[in-house]
């Protein structure tokens, strides 16, 4: 038992560490409540731009070297806080977003983030009425979280209880909640004392106005979500892959599902200030989609998604602190999308380029097989014999010259393509040219041609005899028949050909000849 506990020591250490981290950060959040308005990056900006607010700056200016140095060296405490907060937000939203993507709920985050609007507005109005000061961020976010959570439940349970499709339930809950939000916003406009600029930041996002209290909240929520994703990694993976199996296996799949989606709601809430409710979905989904082009296992995909999310967030904040007029949220999203385009193109696993290379290689292999098979057909036609099973005449085959045109006649290729394949066959040493129009097979060439002729004919006969396939549909390149048909079936088909050899009947191709 002790050995058992010891083996899992790193794991317990991780739990302990994360517990300490959560405790530490949340304590800091509580302590930080005293001085809420020490806006982080805007301090630097304020000194540069003589008090003008970042958003109100009128001209575009390249940052001078002094400023670049200042941002890159993270000299200011608040710069460090904002950078670390948003980078962690990027990492964690990439990771949780992977589960969301694989749970096939990509659009849920959009419904949730839009549904935060009525909650924000209600909280704002309530605060205005109670204290006359509506921009207490934590209360606003709690309000947003409540309506976001309700929207999440609606998205999940509407299809279950009403039978409507899930895309319809997404659309319904998004528009319903957002509609309420818009109405409430117009109510806020009518309040005499209200200054709704704080709300505006939550809709469009503005990382530059984050205070260190805000960032501490982001850090706390992110650490909670990160720890949850690490701890429940295998449960979440199972849920996303096969929820029915998870349930039958004794996992409380529904509760787990709600738990995972609650993490999404939390991330969406803290992401509000950074990127705004319109763009949160991109923060969750884009890194995950990009990561899928680089890896074929869950762990790698989540890791890479976190990496891409974190890098995008970092670059976004960097850009917006160098160019104060650029909105950080949009830059983060655009950077992530850039990563997506790069991944789509160059991704090692399913990127366009790697797929194109694989396809080209496969095409070349298939073409060579077809070429050699047709060559074999020609050889047989010339010899008036069936010889793909016998071995004793292989030596003779190597000495028989073949007229290239006869092979070309059997394929529906253009002259140019045929010449290309022929050239490749020579350079890959399957055939040797005798003169311009004739060639002979090499030893390897004979073996490969014979193998593919055999495979091809066995396949055709197998499909016709056993799979009720119309003979005219059989002609396509096929892999080894032994992978599909049982050995005794292969032997049976081979016997059919053996009998044909014995009765000296030239085997006709079992499908009608394809005309050029």
């Amino acid at each position: 038992m002790a050995a058992f506990a010891l083996r899992r020591l790193p794991f317990w250490l991780l739990i302990l560490l994360s517990a300490v981290a959560v405790f530490g950060v949340s304590k800091q959040v509580l302590a930080g409540e005293g001085h809420p308005h020490d806006s982080a990056i805007s301090q630097t900006q304020a000194s540069e731009q003589s008090g003008a607010h970042a958003r109100k700056a009128t001209s575009f200016a390249w940052p001078d070297w002094e400023k670049v140095k200042r941002v890159i060296s993270f000299r200011d405490h608040n710069t460090r806080v904002v950078f670390s907060g948003l980078t962690l937000l990027g990492i964690v939203s990439g990771i949780t977003g992977t589960f969301l993507l694989l749970r096939k709920r990509s659009l849920l985050s959009d419904s949730v983030s839009h549904a935060t609007l009525p909650g924000l507005a209600i909280a704002f109005i309530a605060l205005e009425l109670i204290s006359g000061k509506g921009d207490s961020l934590n209360w606003l976010l709690i309000g947003g979280a409540i309506t976001g959570f309700l929207a999440m439940l609606a998205v999940i349970y509407l299809p279950k209880i009403s039978g409507i499709k899930s895309d319809a339930s997404l659309a319904l809950s998004l528009t319903f909640f957002y509609g309420i939000g818009v109405v409430l916003l117009s109510v806020i406009q009518m309040l005499p004392t209200a200054n709704a600029s704080g709300l505006e930041y939550l809709i469009y996002g503005n990382a530059a106005t984050l205070t260190s209290t805000d960032v501490q909240l982001i850090l706390a929520i992110c650490i909670v979500c990160l720890v949850a994703c690490i701890l429940f990694f295998k449960e979440f993976s199972l849920l996303c892959f096969d929820s029915g199996y998870a349930k039958a296996n004794g996992f409380p799949a529904n509760k787990l599902d709600i738990f995972l989606m609650t993490l999404i709601v939390l991330i969406s809430i803290v992401g509000l200030q950074a990127v705004g409710l319109l763009l949160i979905m991109a923060l969750l989904i884009t890194p995950a989609v990009s990561a899928r082009f680089w890896a074929k296992r869950m762990g790698r995909v989540t890791f890479i998604a976190g990496l891409i999310g974190g890098t995008s967030a970092f670059i976004g904040v960097l850009m917006s602190s160098l160019f104060p007029r650029l909105p950080a949220g949009a830059i983060v999203v655009l950077t992530a999308t850039l990563f997506f385009i790069l991944s789509l193109t160059f991704g090692s696993y399913r990127g366009l380029l790697s797929r194109w290379f694989l396809k080209r290689r496969a095409m070349k292999r298939i073409e060579m097989n077809q070429f050699l098979r047709s060559t074999f057909d020609v050889l047989e036609g010339d010899q008036n014999d069936c010889m793909f099973i016998e071995n004793e005449r292989i030596g003779a085959l190597m000495k028989t010259p073949i007229v290239a045109d006869k092979v070309w006649n059997r394929r529906s290729w253009s002259r140019a393509k045929f010449a290309k394949v022929l050239g490749r066959a020579v350079s890959e040493n399957w055939i040797r040219l005798i003169d311009d129009g004739t060639f002979i097979l090499t030893e390897d060439g004979v073996a490969r041609a014979r193998h593919h002729a055999r495979q091809h004919r066995l396949w055709e006969l197998y499909l016709i005899k056993y799979a009720d396939v119309a003979p005219s549909q059989v002609h396509h390149d096929v892999e080894r028949i032994e992978e599909v048909a049982a050995p005794e079936v292969v032997r049976e088909i081979e016997d059919i050909f053996q009998n044909e050899i014995k009765s000296r009947v030239i085997p006709v191709e079992p499908h009608p000849q394809i005309t050029q």
Binding site: R8, I15, K234, F241, N249, G250, A295, R297
Partner: protein, 261 residues
């Protein structure tokens, strides 16, 4: 109608009583009563839309029941879930999911590994053994979309095997797979039965029922009949189950005749 005493003992791997499942107002499975015989293989057969898969899903609690009760080894599924292994239909999952064959098989151990605890190398070895049993060890590191249909089914069965359960519930394991895989799977299932395990399996190929199974449950919304194959799997019962689809029945008649000879 005479009441059948509902068994409470834990020797019966699966007992279903009065099970009714309804989508909206229309019942899909109606008043099914059924007991699986320990260490035997039972086929659930019936025409398309007869509610075979629905029955299994309701039994496993994956879809809500309108009424009825199911007991596994005399207990609720929650308390007996470690003794039950489920092989869902192959189409029920996304085969593009980023996992390897070995990862999928390891999922069968997650319950045993326990909440939040990591997968250890000893678990991986267990999963490899299960893959080897299904002759799939060479494909352990393949992403699951790179596998053929038959290979995917083998992976699913390996995931159930690794659970080391006492009752195996399979939903159409032979649908859309090649003959070699079908033989391999049936061989493994027969081995399980010889080891005292119980197998319940939704099956669609009437011609192989006699060869593969010893018990059968004929289902068409209601239970038509259930029991040993040689008593229940008769032309008369099949006609009741399948109605007028005679071409199908002719083939079964032939297979029945050849089995009797």
């Amino acid at each position: 109608m005479a009441t059948v005493p509902f068994p409470q003992d834990d020797s019966c791997p699966l007992s279903v009583k009065d099970l009714t499942v309804a989508y909206e107002r229309k019942p899909v499975v109606w008043d099914v009563e059924f007991e699986a015989v320990p260490s035997s293989m039972t086929a659930i057969i019936g025409p398309n839309g007869a509610g075979k898969s629905t029955l299994l899903k309701a039994v496993l609690g994956l879809i809500p029941k309108a009424s009825g009760r199911t007991l596994f080894f005399g207990k609720d599924l929650k308390r007996a879930s470690s003794r039950v292994a489920y092989v869902p239909q192959r189409e029920s999952v996304d085969w593009n999911y980023p996992v390897t064959a070995l990862d999928v098989v390891t999922m069968g151990l997650y319950r045993k590994i326990g909440w939040c605890l990591p997968v250890l190398s000893s678990h991986k070895r267990k999963a490899q053994t299960a893959l080897e049993k299904m002759e799939m060890l060479a494909y352990a590191d393949r992403q699951i979309s790179e596998l053929s249909g038959g290979q995917q089914q083998r992976v699913f069965l390996a995931r159930a095997l690794v659970q080391d359960a006492d009752l195996y519930i399979l939903d159409e394991p032979f649908a859309g797979i090649d003959a070699t895989t079908e033989k391999a799977i049936i061989q493994i299932l027969q081995e399980l039965r010889s080891a005292g395990k119980t197998v319940v399996c939704v099956h669609h190929d009437l011609t192989t029922v006699v060869e593969y199974f010893e018990n059968v449950l004929l289902l068409n919304l209601r239970k038509v009949a259930s029991g040993p194959v040689d008593e229940v799997f008769t032309l008369e019962n099949l006609k009741k189950t399948y109605g007028g689809k005679l071409t199908l029945l002719d083939r079964v008649a032939q297979s029945l005749a050849s089995a009797n000879n």
